[in-house]
C-alpha cells in the first residue's frame, strides 16, 4: 500500500491505495470522484506535467486533477 494526495480545485484528499494504483485508476475511482467532485473528463498532473493513464502513481505523490477540454459535440 502507498499514500497519495489528490487535488481537484480547492479540495484535496490523502488516501492509501494499492501499490499498482495508476493515474487512470485514480481518474476512474468512484471514491476519489465522490470525495473531490470530478467527472469523467479529466487529466492528471504532477508538478505541472501531464501524466499518462497507465503510469503507476509513485508513493507520496501529489496529483492534481484538472477538467480536460472537450471538442464540440
Amino acid at each position: 500500500m502507498k499514500n497519495i494526495t489528490a487535488k481537484y480545485g480547492v479540495d484535496s484528499i490523502n488516501k492509501q491505495v494499492e501499490d499498482d494504483f495508476t493515474f487512470g485508476d485514480l481518474q476512474e475511482s468512484d471514491t476519489f470522484k465522490a470525495a473531490l467532485g470530478f467527472g469523467d473528463n479529466t487529466k492528471t498532473l504532477v508538478e505541472g506535467i501531464e501524466q499518462s493513464r497507465g503510469t503507476v502513481i509513485p508513493q507520496g505523490a501529489i496529483v492534481r486533477l484538472e477538467t480536460a477540454a472537450n471538442s464540440k459535440a
Binding site: Y8, L36, G48, R64, L65, A69, N70, A73
Partner: protein, 231 residues
C-alpha cells in the same frame, strides 16, 4: 559570501552546512525563462461600462482578465411547463425571446478572457464562463455552448483588437448578444431547474433555482485557467 550553518538532525546528529552565495550576472532571456510560469494577479485594473471592474492575472505571454458579472442574457427558445418558462434551446416549435437572468447572490459569475499580445494588436485566445460558490470552488453552469472546461463556444468572432479594453468589451458584447443553441448541451432538465421565469401581465418574474444547493445542478471544474481567475 560564505556562511556556515550548524544543524541538529532529528536523530541528534550535528551537521555543518557551508553555503556559498554569489550574484549571477544573468541576461534578460535567462530571467524571462526562469519567470515564464510566474503570474501576478492585479485587482481593479479598468472599469468596463455596463459590466464593472476587470481584474488581471498577468503572465509573460498572456493576461487572463476576470470580470465579475451579475447576469446572463439568455437569447434562446423557451417552453412553458406548469406555468414556468424554462429554456428549451432547440425545439423549433418553442418561443424564441431574449430574457435576462440575474444571478442570485450565492452564485458568483466570472467572465474570463485570455488575451495574448501580437504584432501591433492583441488577440483574444478564449472566453470562459465560471460560477463560483462562497468557498471559491468553480463550476460549469448547466448551459449549452460551454465546453467541459467552461470555454465558451463563441461562434464567429473577430479575435484581434487594438487594445485589451477593446478586446474585453467586444468579448462581453459577443457574450451578451449571442443566441444559445443546443451545441454541447449536457442535461436539459438541470438547465430548466436552474433558469426559471414566471410570465406575469407585463414582464417575467425570475424564479429561484429549483434546488437546495445550486451546485448540485452544475459540474465542478478545475483547470489552469480557472486557477488564474481573480475574484
Amino acid at each position: 559570501m560564505e556562511t556556515t550553518e550548524i544543524l541538529i538532525r532529528g536523530d541528534g546528529t550535528l551537521i555543518e552546512r557551508r553555503v556559498h552565495e554569489r550574484i549571477l550576472d544573468v541576461g534578460q532571456s535567462v530571467m524571462e525563462g526562469l519567470t515564464e510560469e510566474t503570474r501576478r494577479g492585479i485587482r481593479n485594473v479598468m472599469n468596463l461600462p455596463d459590466w464593472g471592474v476587470a481584474h488581471a492575472n498577468v503572465g509573460v505571454n498572456d493576461t487572463l482578465w476576470s470580470v465579475a458579472i451579475d447576469r446572463i442574457s439568455l437569447d434562446t427558445k423557451f417552453r412553458l411547463i406548469d406555468g414556468v418558462l424554462v429554456p428549451a434551446f432547440t425545439a423549433e416549435t418553442d418561443i424564441e425571446m431574449p430574457l435576462v437572468w440575474p444571478a442570485p447572490k450565492e452564485v458568483r459569475l466570472v467572465f474570463a478572457v485570455q488575451i495574448a499580445c501580437c504584432y501591433l494588436a492583441v488577440k483574444v485566445e478564449g472566453n470562459w464562463l465560471f460560477a463560483f460558490d462562497k468557498e471559491k470552488r468553480g463550476y460549469r453552469l448547466p448551459l449549452p455552448n460551454l465546453h467541459d472546461d467552461c470555454l465558451i463556444c463563441t461562434g464567429n468572432f473577430d479575435s484581434h483588437y487594438g487594445s485589451c479594453y477593446e478586446a474585453l468589451l467586444a468579448s462581453l458584447e459577443q457574450f451578451r448578444k449571442s443566441e444559445w443553441n443546443s451545441d454541447l448541451m449536457r442535461n436539459l432538465e438541470q438547465s430548466q431547474r436552474f433558469f426559471r421565469f414566471r410570465p406575469t401581465d407585463e414582464t417575467f418574474e425570475v424564479l429561484p433555482i429549483d434546488a437546495e444547493d445550486w451546485t448540485t445542478l452544475c459540474n465542478k471544474v478545475s483547470t489552469s485557467i480557472l486557477e488564474r481567475v481573480v475574484i
